[in-house]
């Protein structure tokens, strides 16, 4: 127990150092605005992939409707700041809670399904959320909600990201988290052992949805606009791809996946016509040669590298 605490403090220190370095690089404009934007985007994508990993990787429930919760967060956050004129901090909290609540309401009936059927249901629900938003005039309908203040910066994304990573890491190591892992390994066996599978599945789904909402608030408050076209099922696929690429059920994997894919997109930004083609070929080739993802379900561990400090934070922003 003591050991874990010590490791956590070490990790936190590592995060501080990493944060200080990155912040200085941004302040002295060694990292230009283009890469600053991409670093923020990487941070947001890390929150998304880590939260989806809780549902898909750790609990084994195949959800591909994450963009829907992202949209809910983005829009409720924007309503709080733009329409009601309340502070950004409140927007973050409300966005998170709303997405979580919706996740709970959606999770309760749909999580009875399994495998491909759950995947399709979540995909459909994600689209329904988007189409509903598209038809609400109050939030701008098809033209999107504009004029959102830029409140998100590197510091916000970094610390919220660290919070989410730690939250999910600790959740997985807690009793409910272990129940989730048991459900992933074998749902019927888990049920036989007395685990209330519905409860823990819904719990994981709600937490994952809530953090997607957080990412949504950060997203809309960085890009000035919340637009329905940013939340299509393509976006859900994007997040899913990050998780699978890194390795389902691996925290370091989810983080690496987010960094890698966002990075590839950014590097290819200069060749817009080739960008998606190369992206898709990378995806196919990686899956052909490493179908279990880069990390499998293993973690990048201290024992592997003897680096000290925090792995998750390091992989998060260090690349």
């Amino acid at each position: 127990m003591n050991n874990i605490r010590k490791q956590d403090i070490m990790s936190l220190l590592g995060c501080f150092v990493l944060f200080a370095v990155m912040q200085l690089l941004i302040m002295f404009e060694i990292i230009g605005p283009f890469w600053e934007l991409n670093i923020v985007l990487i941070g947001i994508n890390i929150i998304l992939s880590v939260s989806l990993n809780l549902i898909n990787g750790y609990t084994g429930q195949f959800s591909i409707g994450h963009a829907g919760f992202l949209a809910v967060g983005a829009y409720t956050g924007a309503i709080i700041t733009v329409k009601l004129g309340l502070p950004f901090e409140l927007a973050l909290i409300v966005g998170t809670l709303c997405a979580g609540l919706l996740g709970f309401l959606i999770g309760l009936p749909t999580l009875r399904l399994n495998g491909d059927y759950l995947a399709i249901a979540t995909l459909g629900l994600g689209e329904i959320i988007r189409i509903c938003i598209l038809n609400i005039e109050y939030v701008g309908g098809a033209s999107g909600l504009m004029g959102i203040p830029r409140e998100t910066n590197f510091a916000w994304v970094f610390w919220v990201g660290i919070f989410v990573i730690f939250f999910i890491k600790n959740f997985i190591n807690s009793a409910p988290g272990r129940s989730c892992l048991a459900i992933r390994e074998n749902e019927i066996a888990a049920e036989t052992m007395g685990i209330d599978t519905t409860k823990y599945k819904v719990m994981a789904f709600t937490i994952g949805a809530a953090f997607a909402g957080t990412a949504g608030v950060l997203f809309s408050h960085y890009f000035y606009i919340a637009h329905p076209a940013s939340f299509t099922f393509m976006r859900s696929f994007d997040i899913l791809t990050m998780v699978v690429l890194g390795g389902l059920g691996s925290m370091s994997g989810a983080i690496t996946g987010a960094v890698l894919l966002t990075g590839i997109s950014a590097f290819l930004a200069e060749y817009p016509e080739w960008r998606m083609v190369i992206y898709s070929i990378t995806l196919i080739v990686l899956m052909l040669y490493r179908p279990q993802g880069l990390f499998g379900n293993k973690e990048l561990s201290l024992k592997m590298f003897k680096l000290g400090g925090d792995n998750s934070g390091r992989t998060a922003e260090g690349k």
């Binding site: 459909g124 329904i128 899913l240 992206y279 898709s280 196919i284």
Partner: protein, 298 residues
């Protein structure tokens, strides 16, 4: 709205819905066959439909073919594309985790879409009118000759497919593989060949749908396959995925519901209705309208 005009509107939307639905049914058939055989949700299937439309475009504009030869050309070319995709991207993954194959399918889908943008630019192109559109007025109902051609071609193709699956040796092999792959292999069926054939058949149907739609709407673009692909998939699930008559039924129902929603409410809610049906069917009868409930064994 009084009863008479309501009824009139209803029948009109029914006609529109059935012709749109037959397109969904053609695409859904490919989804359902491929799922039935290798349990893969082939997300790239909607893009095969797009590919078919472009092949049709090439056939009519560059090769100067008329409707039927162009349709056959597009179907054949798409069949080859389907076989190649399966051979290159899916076959090496056959024993990989399901989710990895799914991601590969998403990758293939992106590749086809953006590859096409690279070749043909993202601008929509005008599909030539291969035959004149005559509008018939039957008892106040508007029926377009193109709708008749779409429905007719779709019916012929579906009948042909049903015949192939139920009455030929190849079809028997397909059914056997979809029932139990290992047992089929032990009986001496060449699995690879059967899977290739399934992809060829499914892709050619999607291509036919692509050509028919392009004739109807006069316009094609590289991303045209995304939404119809998704909806056809919903149609396949609605009818019971893996079941061929189910895909046809599901497609027609989807088309009719969509036409009704756009006719009576608002066309912006059309897509939501499609996915709404999906959620309802999944919650109450996840095996689909024509599916059987299979009890999970421990």
């Amino acid at each position: 709205m009084d009863m008479g005009s309501f009824l009139h509107q209803f029948v009109q939307q029914l006609i529109n819905g059935v012709s749109l639905g037959s397109i969904y049914a053609l695409i859904a058939l490919g989804y359902t066959m491929i799922y039935g055989i290798i349990k893969l949700i082939n997300f790239a299937h909607g893009d095969i439909y797009m590919l078919g439309a472009y092949f049709g475009f090439v056939a009519t504009t560059m090769l100067g073919l008329s409707f039927l030869p162009a349709l056959v050309f597009a179907m054949a070319a798409a069949a080859v594309a389907g076989i190649v995709i399966e051979r290159v991207a899916y076959r090496p993954m056959r024993n990989a985790p399901r989710i990895a194959i799914l991601i590969t399918a998403i990758g293939v889908s992106f590749f086809l879409e953006y590859g096409m943008i690279l070749i043909a630019t993202p601008q929509p192109r005008t599909f030539p009118a291969v035959f004149d559109a005559t509008v018939y007025n039957v008892a106040g109902l508007v029926i377009n000759s193109q709708q008749i051609v779409i429905l007719g071609s779709a019916l012929v193709l579906m009948a042909a497919l049903t015949y192939i699956v139920n009455h030929t040796k190849a079809g028997k092999a397909m059914r056997a593989v979809s029932f139990d792959m290992d047992a089929a292999q032990l009986m001496g069926i060449n699995i690879d060949k059967v899977i290739s054939m399934t992809f060829a058949l499914g892709s050619s149907l999607a291509a036919a749908a692509g050509v028919l739609v392009s004739i109807y709407y006069n316009s094609i673009d590289p991303l045209m396959g995304m939404m119809p692909g998704m909806k056809a998939f919903v149609a396949a699930v609605l009818g019971g995925i893996g079941i061929i008559p189910g895909a046809m039924l599901g497609g027609i129902i989807m088309g009719v519901v969509e036409a009704m929603v756009s006719g009576f409410f608002s066309s912006t809610f059309r897509d939501a209705a499609a996915f709404g049906i999906l959620i309802l069917i999944l919650l109450y009868k996840p095996s689909g309208l024509l599916g059987k409930n299979i009890r999970e064994k421990v």
